[in-house]
Symmetry: C2
Subunit: 116 residues, 2 copies
DNA sequence: GACATGCTTCAATTATTGTTGAATAATCAT
DNA sequence: ATGATTATTCAACAATAATTGAAGCATGTC
């Protein structure tokens, strides 16, 4: 993945509204949600939602499809996994014993704190 | 993790400069790099680098430590893994058979395209 | 056809970020 | 102490992004 594209993807996740929107789409993958339902669930004004959805779609993290008079948005899960790989692939210069230690710490945190 | 914090973290990764900086720190984890070395490797003017490093540290994705007249920056790998978990944890409403299919697609892409 | 609905686009405004050069502070070497 | 090095902060400016209300365009209903 190119740095420019990855930065655009993170940009798409960098506001609370957009992060909420995207996480909702991830949750409702693979069917997705129509714009109005996103607006209702998150309480975002429609004109503002359009603006944010456009940024998310532009990054590639979601796709749109027309469905009668609705527009259905779907998270692009493979791209999400791709950008995660982009971020983590060179971790510790590929020395797996270092990375493994970090992951162990992280698992411990998860068990201690639970999910939110 | 709170949405606000996660958004701040993604914000810290949302410019090409900052993404390059952070990935460099991930690569050189756990020892980290001093500011001057980051500047040299990436060709970013020092005053501008300070600005971006501040944003990264503020997000929590890196820490700073004074080392003589140098400042050493280190990636916070557990937080990176934490924000990844935040993004992915509710995927497909916890229906693992859907998620598994996506991961299979992603593995296929990786094998086809190699690492970049 | 006339009207309601769902959503987007446009234009104007406000707010936030990024970049640059000059000035400052701390450390180290002589 | 003087001077060189490392890196930050500050202030000014340039560039981008977010929000809002009004207008527009399909689609569906009567």
């Amino acid at each position: 993945m190119e740095t420019k594209h990855a930065a655009t993807i993170f940009e798409a996740l960098s506001s609370e509204s957009r992060l909420d929107i995207f996480r909702l789409l991830v949750k409702y993958a693979p069917e997705g949600l129509v714009a109005g339902e996103i607006a209702r669930r998150l309480g975002i004004p429609s004109t503002n939602l359009s603006f944010h959805l456009k940024a998310i779609v532009h990054s590639g993290l979601a796709s749109v499809e027309k469905e009668g008079r609705y527009l259905r948005y779907r998270a692009n899960i493979p791209l999400m996994l791709g950008v995660i790989a982009y971020l983590t692939s060179e971790c510790c210069s590929g020395r797996p014993e270092e990375c493994a230690r970090y992951r162990a710490v992280n698992r411990h945190l998860k068990m201690t704190q639970g999910r939110h």
